[in-house]
């Protein structure tokens, strides 16, 4: 939830920044500063092993590209359809995909079958979106 709150704050501030420097440029700035900040933290506090990058399966390395694809598609659809519809569609896509990933155990995730609890949770979320957005 803290991650989600950070994402909203990032979106709000990034949006304000985007009005001054352009949407793509504001995203670019976030990635550059993000890379520099995480580089410094890795250098001083990193306990992992970056050399593993060479040995992990190649699909493990697509995270950065996916982040850019997400942002690019979002910028286009916000221009075409407005924030409300875009955000709702993004959330629907996110929920469906994460449930599919776990249901079939894709991308190295443990397998968790879709069940009644999850169905109830999804229905409750959908109703709350209608109320909130």
């Amino acid at each position: 939830m803290i991650a989600g709150m950070s994402l909203s704050i990032e979106a709000a501030i990034g949006g304000a920044l985007g009005q001054h420097v352009g949407e793509l440029e504001s995203t670019y700035y976030i990635f550059i500063i993000g890379a520099m900040a995480t580089f410094l933290v890795t250098l001083f506090f990193g306990k992992g092993d970056l050399r593993q990058i060479l040995t992990v399966p190649k699909w493990n390395l697509t995270g950065g590209l996916l982040g850019v694809v997400y942002l690019a598609l979002l910028v286009i659809s916000v221009t075409l359809m407005g924030v409300g519809v875009s955000v709702t569609a993004v959330i629907v896509g996110q929920i469906i995909m994460s449930i599919l990933i776990e249901h079939f155990g894709l991308l190295g995730s443990p397998r968790i079958a879709f069940n009644r609890n999850r169905l109830i949770a999804v229905v409750l979320l959908m109703i709350s979106f209608v109320l909130v957005l």
Binding site: M1, A3, M5, S6, L7, I9, E10, A12, I13, G14, A16, L17, H20, V21, G22, L24, Y28, Y29, F31, I33, A35, T38, F39, V41, T42, G46, G48, D49, L50, Q52, V56, N60, L61, T62, G63, G64, L66, G67, Y70, L80, V87, A89, V90, G93, Q94, I95, M97, S98, I99, L106, L107, G108, S109, N117, A121, L124, L125, I127, L131, V132
Partner: protein, 154 residues
């Protein structure tokens, strides 16, 4: 035409979930902050190319904007690092749904007070019911989790 346009944000959401799953798996091998670094680093490379070809704004205006607007990057780092940490522990769906609830709650607070130059949208009864339903949804997602670990330990 409208259906095709709706596919764009839908694909964006799919991309975001796939990213969480991929980074969770990747983070287990190289470490949390290392995975976040690599994601920002490769993302920055792709964006360098994209901004060069399609950028219509002016990145140099960054010197003129109020300094608080430059903090957005730090929140991006917090999000990405926490996701890499959470996904291997609680799973993609639970992590994604928690993020969405956190996002909506924070957006409502930002809307209500009109922080960060956003438009003021007061918190009303509809939004309150929405929050209650979201909390119930979280309860159901995590109840299943505790059911399962209880079943495993017995």
């Amino acid at each position: 035409m409208n259906i095709i346009m709706l596919l764009l944000p839908l694909l964006a959401g799919i991309g975001l979930s796939v990213q969480s799953a991929v980074n969770g798996t990747f983070g287990k091998r190289v470490g949390t902050i290392e995975s976040a670094f690599f994601t920002f680093f490769t993302g920055a490379i792709f964006l360098t190319i994209i901004v060069n070809f399609f950028g219509q704004g002016n990145i140099l205006n960054i010197h003129e904007v109020p300094k608080w607007q430059l903090l957005c990057a730090i929140f991006g780092v917090i999000y990405l690092s926490l996701m890499v940490l959470a996904v291997p522990k609680i799973g993609v769906t639970a992590a994604v749904i928690s993020v969405i609830v956190g996002q909506l709650v924070a957006s409502m607070v930002i809307d209500h007070f009109g922080w960060f130059e956003s438009e003021v949208v007061p918190f009303g009864i509809k939004r309150l019911i929405g929050v209650v339903l979201m909390c119930m949804a979280l309860f159901f997602v995590f109840r299943e989790k505790t059911d399962k670990s209880a079943a495993q330990s017995s």
